[in-house]
């Protein structure tokens, strides 16, 4: 699913949140959105707020409700929000899954199998089915929410802060799921985060907003090559990019690494090379 914004503006109350912006969310890629403090882009996409301009899904404009100016029939999507008090409406894990899919019989064994594999995918297991929601830890709730939102097989997925509340191994697992969804199942994925390190690690393309405009939209790797541009616009650098920038002050030229281990190898080469010269 490809999503386009053409000349979109959005005002809430007296506050202008977007002004005549154009943006493209490409099919089967992971697109990050940085500095969307009010989560306005996902809210427009999912039909939650009124806007002016055009939003196209696979080049088709959806009908807007003439009164509310919100989009009607959005394609099948899942929006995995930060946990809030409305996240879970029933009291057990299994009933949450049945709530997610209407018209399904609670004895449908196929669906129960599906639930179990969905739980296993996020690192939980079948024993969770009987658990009460209020006995889950924060990370278990978060993983459960992801499992529920993915079971409907959405065309596109929006996720807020994908690593929120998760420990190291759980983060690794969620990263793998997102990459698989993109690569094997060609899902369009939109990630919202305030943590530039998370976006640098996970996204193919990145949209950075600034003062209700799109500051830049490009391949993530390309955006972080242009250090001057980022500094001029006071965009926070991912740690590994910051390391490369500081090294330049010492006339050490490191490559544009993405992984810490590659960085260490690069540093080792330069540092020991220098020693040999001396």
């Amino acid at each position: 699913m490809e999503i386009k914004f053409l000349n979109v503006s959005c005002k809430i109350g007296r506050k202008t949140l977007l002004k005549n912006i154009n943006l493209y969310i490409n099919d089967a890629l992971i697109t990050g959105i940085y500095l969307d403090d009010y989560k306005i882009i996902p809210n427009i996409i999912t039909g939650n707020v009124a806007y002016q301009g055009k939003v196209l899904f696979d080049n088709q404009e959806l009908k807007k409700n003439s009164k509310t100016k919100k989009t009607n029939s959005i394609p099948n999507f899942s929006y995995i929000k930060e946990l809030d008090c409305e996240t879970f409406l029933t009291d057990t894990v299994s009933s949450e899954f049945f709530l997610a899919k209407k018209d399904i019989d609670t004895n449908d064994l196929n669906y129960i199998d599906k639930i179990i594999s969905s739980l296993k995918m996020v690192g939980l297991n079948e024993f969770f089915l009987k658990r009460k929601i209020n006995t889950l830890s924060k990370s278990e709730k978060r993983l459960l929410e992801i499992a529920i939102k993915l079971i409907t097989n959405p065309d596109f997925i929006i996720i807020d802060e994908p690593f929120l509340y998760l420990n190291k191994n759980q983060k690794f697992n969620i990263k793998k799921i997102l990459l698989d969804l993109r690569k094997k199942y060609h899902k369009t994925i939109i990630i919202l985060s305030n943590d530039i390190n998370v976006l640098y690690e996970l996204t193919d393309e990145l949209i950075i907003l600034k003062e209700n405009k799109v500051l830049v939209q490009d391949k993530t790797k390309l955006i972080f090559k242009d250090l001057e541009f980022l500094e001029k616009n006071q965009i926070m650098l991912p740690n590994i990019v910051l390391f490369r920038k500081i090294a330049l002050n010492y006339d050490k030229k490191l490559e544009n690494y993405k992984e810490v281990n590659d960085l260490i190898k690069g540093v080792y080469k330069i540092a020991t090379g220098v020693k040999e010269d001396a």
């Binding site: 278990e140 420990n167 190291k168 010492y250």
Partner: protein
């Protein structure tokens, strides 16, 4: 060193599932103590016990007040709690009203409330937010406000339960700096967290795993045990991770908490 807050011999179970068993913890006065744990190891439950949301009898002792049914009203005003609970909402429209609320609750006169808000907003540099609507704040500003709110009634002990989620790294650094400064003025801080980049300024660090204290030490001593930290699911912050790896290759000789300092030592 004087023990200021302690948990003594705590055993806590729900139905037949035992969570804490003979659990002990001692926090020193005017210190910044961190208790690190990955998710699901008892962090939030411990916060609830300390803040008397889960009732216990004579297990928590704060400055010689032993927490039980009779003393709870003396005990609670002396602590400030910040949780990362997603049900936590603000009560008022304006930031200023929100900051006044805990003080109004304790019966402070208006002029005193105003001067306290004035002092707090200057100290934490949020003067520009006072007249804003809370819904117009960014996530980071809101999280910052939650920490400041917990300090308004001048508690003796501040308990932070994963309070730094959602703060931008600049705000996080600023708040940690300011909080550390408050310990020299008498505040005791217990930072319960899984975010290891919030523990750099700690005087002491405990590792909590499976409802038990597994290790304790200084910040550097704790980070030296990086393979253990990784094993229990904690993320090593980038700058510490790089430090440890470069140290392994003898390219630097210490652990750094700041990338500039690290590279200063590396490329000198």
């Amino acid at each position: 060193m004087s023990s200021f807050f302690s948990i003594k011999n705590l055993t806590y179970k729900i139905n037949n599932q035992i969570f804490f068993k003979n659990f002990n913890l001692v926090i020193d006065k005017k210190k910044f103590t961190s208790l690190i744990a990955s998710s699901g190891s008892g962090k939030s439950m411990l916060t609830k016990i300390i803040s008397a949301i889960i009732p216990t009898t004579d297990k928590c002792v704060l400055n010689n007040i032993s927490l039980n049914k009779e003393t709870v009203l003396n005990y609670l005003p002396k602590i400030g709690i910040v949780t990362n609970d997603f049900n936590q909402d603000f009560l008022f429209k304006k930031v200023k009203d929100e900051l006044a609320y805990p003080l109004e609750n304790l019966g402070f006169p208006e002029h005193k409330i105003n001067s306290k808000i004035d002092i707090a907003s200057k100290y934490f540099k949020i003067e520009n937010l006072l007249n804003k609507d809370i819904k117009d704040l960014t996530l980071s500003e809101r999280k910052k406000l939650l920490i400041i709110l917990a300090l308004m009634h001048e508690p003796a002990l501040l308990v932070l339960d994963d309070a730094f989620y959602g703060l931008t790294s600049n705000d996080q650094e600023f708040m940690l700096e300011k909080l550390k400064e408050l310990t020299s003025r008498g505040l005791t801080i217990l930072n319960i967290t899984s975010k290891l980049d919030t523990i750099y300024k700690s005087d002491k660090v405990f590792i909590l795993h499976e409802f038990k204290i597994k290790k304790e030490g200084t910040v550097k001593e704790i980070f030296e045990q990086d393979s253990y930290l990784r094993k229990i699911g904690l993320d090593i912050p980038f700058v510490v991770d790089v430090s440890l790896k470069l140290k392994f290759y003898d390219l630097i000789s210490d652990i750094y908490f700041d990338i500039s300092e690290l590279e200063g030592a590396l490329w000198k």
